[in-house]
Every structure is written in C-alpha cells, then in structure tokens.
C-alpha cells in the first residue's frame, strides 16, 4: 500500500464506536502498517455523538482525518450519517447501518463488528490479522458472536460489491 487509508467510524455513545476502531487499528498494526487512531471521549459516554478516526499506511502524521479526506465512513447510527457525510472524500465509500440486518447477528451488540466485516471487504488486511485483532481487543466470551457478526458483515458487503 503506497497511500494512507483514512477511516472515520461514527455513532452514538455506547454503540461500540471506540471498540470497533480499536479492532481496526490493531488489525492494521498487525499487518505492518503505521497506524494512528484518535477520538474524543469524555462527555460522549452519555449517549452523545462519537467519532473515531483511524489512519494507516506507510507514514501517518496528524492523528485526525482532515474533513473531506476519509476514504471510508463507517456509521453505526442512522441519524449520524448526514452529520458525518462531509468527512468523505469524493469517491469515498459510505458503510451505513442499513447494510447490516441486526436479525442476522448472533448478538445484536456485535453490530459494530459486523460493519467492520463490511469494511474488511475493501481493505488489504488478512483474515488472520482481523481475527487476531478481535481476540486481542475483545474478551474471550465474546469471540464467537463477534466472529459471526464480522463474517455476516463481510458477506453483506461482498453481495453489494458484486451486484
């Protein structure tokens, strides 16, 4: 990969925005990329808007994705799509919550990881590194449900990529 990849993950406090960005940054780091992950926490714990920026590639300087420079915008809450759309560059990919059917998930709390699965269809990160990242970030009892969600998200994105 010659260029950095910029990902913005957005949602509401309690939805697992930060956890998803932890997994993504860990997976990218294990793939040998330079990585920076930045977010604001604090008041956001109380149900407010949360965004997390993950940048990876050969060399990352600023930890924040400049406005209009995100390659991928991953959104967990429907009402957070429009407020964050300006983050995307022209031609960037939006992964919106309607991509995932919550009923298809073993545990609905894994919705964040399902969207990561959808994102994974677009990234040069191996399945092994994704799995290792999930295992390092999540407690063992959640591994199975999240692996199912990840696979479901990846399947949903692949379906959309090949109409």
């Amino acid at each position: 990969m010659k260029k950095n990849v910029n990902v913005v993950i957005a949602g509401l406090g309690g939805q697992g925005v930060i956890k998803a960005s932890d997994i993504l940054s860990e997976a990218a780091f294990r793939s040998g990329y330079e990585v920076k992950k930045s977010e604001i926490h604090g008041m956001s714990q109380r149900g407010g808007s949360v965004t997390s920026d993950v940048r990876f590639g050969p060399q990352v300087l600023s930890p924040m994705v400049p406005p209009g420079e995100a390659d991928f915008l991953v959104v967990l809450a429907p009402d957070q799509v429009e407020v964050n759309r300006g983050q995307l560059r022209a031609g960037g990919v939006l992964l919106a919550p309607d991509l995932i059917d919550p009923a298809a998930l073993a545990n609905r709390k894994s919705f964040n990881v399902a969207l990561l699965g959808a994102l994974s269809a677009h990234l040069e990160i191996s399945a092994e590194n994704w799995q290792a990242a999930m295992h390092s970030v999540l407690p063992e009892k959640l591994h199975a449900a999240n692996e199912q969600a990840f696979a479901e998200g990846r399947r949903a994105a692949a379906t959309r990529l090949q109409p």
Binding site: L12, G13, D22, S25, E26, F29, E34, V35, K36, K37, S38, E39, I40, H41, G42, M43, S44, Q45, R46, G47, G48, S49, V60, L61, S62, P63, M64, P66, P67, D79, Q80, E82, V83, N84, G86, S136
Partner: protein, 541 residues
Amino acid sequence: MSLTERQLLSGDSAIALAALHGGVALGSGYPGTPSTEILEYLAHIGGKAQWSPNEKVAMEVGIGVAYGGARSLVTMKHVGLNVAADPFFSVAHTGVVGALVVVSADDPGMASSQNEQDNRRYAVAAAVPMLEPADSQEAYDFTLAAMEISERWEIPVLLRVTTRVCHTQAPVQPRAAVPPPQPHFEHDLRGRNLIPSNARPAHRRLRQKLSEMTEWSELTPLNRLVPGDKKLGIITSGVCFMHAREAAPAASFLKLGFTHPLPLKKIAKFVRSVERCVVIEEGDPYLADAIRAAGLNVESKPEMFRFGELNVDRIRRILAHDHSPEPARPPVKPPELCDGCGHHVVFQALHNLDCIVAGDIGCYALGVLPPYSAMDCCVCMGSSIPIGLGLRHVLPPAEAKRVVSVIGDSTFVHSGMTGLAEMIYNPPPTGHVVVILDNSTTAMTGHQEHPGTGRTLDHAATSKVVYEDLGRALGIEDVRVFPLGKDCAGFQQMIVEALASEKLVLIVARRPCVLAAKSIREYENRDKCATGCAAPEALVP
C-alpha cells in the same frame, strides 16, 4: 503482550509504561479527562498508582515521594493544576531529590472541560522546565527524559500533553527498564522549610537552575530541526507538529520538545535561515510572544485560531492567510443523563420547585439541559456550596430560601468539605440546603474510585468517608439520607421541608450510577467473600 515489544498505545498509556520502565515508585492523581487513563494503565501493568481526593493532595503526596529519593508521577487535567498550583510553585523553590514529573493534560477545544486554558503558562509562572510530546512514542520518551531532567536539576518537571496526544493510539517502541533509585531520607531543613529567610536563597537557586537549563535547551535533541524548503519555516510543538507537517510537507521545521526555558539562540538561527517563519501552536500565543519578545520577526496565528484545537485544515488556512469564516461544525447529538440515572429524580424535583441551583462538576451538570434546565451555575470543582452560600447571604429572603447546592460524591470529597466548614462557620440567615448526589463513583470520567467509595484505584477495599457522619461531625444539625429510586414526590417533599426549615440541611441522595452498579456489586460481593463466606475454591471437591 510483552511490555517491551513495539505496540499500539495511547499517549496516556505510553506515559504510564514509561513510568513503569523508569522506576516510578508511586503515581498519584485525581481523575480528569484526558489524563485519567495514565494511572489506571500504570496500575494495570503492575505499577503502584493511587487516586487522591484532589490534585493538590496528589501533588503533595508526590512531593513526599520525591523528597524520599524515589521517583514520582503526578497526573491531572489542566484545571487540576489550578487546584495543585500552591504546592507546585513552592516545590519549584525547595527542589526535589527523586524525580517529580507533573503531567498536565490540557483540553484545547474543551471536549470535556469547563474552560480552555493553556498550562504552558504555568511552567513560566512556577519557573519549572516543560516538555511537550507530539505523539505516543514521544510521550514515552519524554516521560523518561522528564525523570532525568528532574533528578539532574533537582526540580519538578511539567510534562504538558493535550487531548490528541493523550487519546491517540500510535506505535511505541519501549526501552529496557532502568533500576529505580533506593528511597532514603536526608535532612535538608534550610532547603525545604520555606520560611522567608530560606525562601529568598531558594528563589535564587531556582533561577540559577533555569539559567543552566536555558543553555542545555540549546543543545538537547528534544528540540530538533527537520530540514526542508527555506521558503517556509515552521516553529511548533506538541501534536501541532504532526498536523503542520501534513499541511506543509515541504517546509523546514523547528520542532520544540523542551519548551521551557526556550532555546532562543537556536530559534533565532532558524528564523534567520528561512524566508518566512510561522509559529504554529494551539491555544495561547505562548511561543510566538516569547519569540517576538526576543526581537525576532515571526508570523503568529490570527486570534480566531486561539479557540479550539488546531488540525491540518486549520493550519492550511493559517499558512494561506485565509481568515474567512470556518465552516460550521455539523450539529451533533449532545450527551444526556442515562436512562435509570438517579439524578433524574433530583433535577425533576428542583425543576418543579423552581429552585435556584448552584451546581458543580460531574455528569449531573447535564441537569442544565432540557427537560430539567435545573442548574443555574457550574463553575469549578466544589464551588456549588460556597456559591450557594454567597447567594443566600445577599438575595432577598424569598429568593434566598429557594437556593440549593448540589454536588456529586467525588466532587464533594475533592473540594466540597471546606464548603461545608464555611456553611457551619458563616451560616446564612435563611439556612441552606446541600444535596450530595452520591452515585458511589466518579462517573463522569469513567467510574474511578475515591475516598467515599471505600475502594482504592484498583478496587480493593479500604477505609471510607461517610458523608452523613462527616456532616454531623461538622455540626450540621439536620442530616438526611434519601435512597433515590422512582419516588420523585418523596424527594421533592424532603426538599420542600428542608427549604422551609431555614436551617442548615445536608441531604445525601444515594443511588449507584447505573453504568457502574454491576461492577460495584461485584467488588462488594468479592469483599464480603474475602471476610465472610467460603472462598469459591473451597467448594470444588
């Protein structure tokens, strides 16, 4: 994961890892975004870390550690240093034996703070050296460097970080741990007793140290040149270095890591080496003012960029002299009180009664938002009780009798107790009503323990401050406890009675934070098992 391999760490975690590898004997602090995770991670990786009731106490514990010849790390958010300023200024005069590293985590843009404050000013005011890391690797390296500087010049060091350094995860390559110094005590009565006859020579010694460090700052690799195009030179520090390099990749940089005392000769040489020189810094024009005061001609940002964080986009604007209005941020969903939070009942009652509410710092500051709109002020930690008293002293009786102070449990222990002393010492003619919102944790910053929870930083059982006992011991005649649930009418009735009594009333409104309740139950059950019931292992045949 091994603690010595290259790993992704937040700036906060990197500071903690450096503290562990640098042999810090004790980390002390008070929780405050964005500094909180430093001590939590230090304890997590096997270091010794403690929450103190407030930052002043944490600083004083740290001074004792450093007087004892051991290494000390003291952590706080920017406003914490206001609370701890008294010992901070004085310990600069006395000096230390072991390292004393004070972390001030500033919050430009106020993601979770009551004010925007640039604590680089404190390094100048207290006359102490300051380091500003730009990322997690530097947070690690500079923490170790701060310990060396502190011990070499026997002086406290300010490690100034900001939200984007604290909360950004980036790779860190740790070094081998160094053996910690052996604590021991040496008397130094003249050096550490700041009576005027001792303090006068102490101030001269302090200025002599600063003078030596000024020479050193010209040579240290903490201040480094990044060669580039001579048409544009940028002088910067902290995370702004990262933003600025992305905004102007071809420029020459003077990247300052040791930012007090400043290397003005090195800066002068750099300024003269480039055609255009711009100072890029968040917050106050600290660098720009100092550099201009030295007679050097540099550009500084326009006033509009004093506010909020800088980023790549804003730095591009500064460099392009683009002073046009910036695009408005898209509206975000504001935070709110959680479902099931005990504070709902309290603010519903205060709203219903149209009370004049002196509030305080914590989750319950959200009581100011609709639907309750039931907080009239929120100034700083512990201010609710004295401000409520001041209002009571001057308002006409009909209004004075509606004044209530509300304060959270952690905030009360932090700096509410002196407010209660003021209340019994100078009682207003109409009495006063103080409500302690006891949710059994420091909720706002992510559920840290404090002296009122009866558990230490790592959730082990310890002695506990009991607010109702404390209130009675101080001489408050009417002390009540109200278990918060769904009974708003009951709570409202208690407030009505308390206000009508025109006495000094302390109400402890109690309900564990809904987000922390499960963990709190687990800690309590564990502690009960440790003293009473059979250990689970004993049940296994």
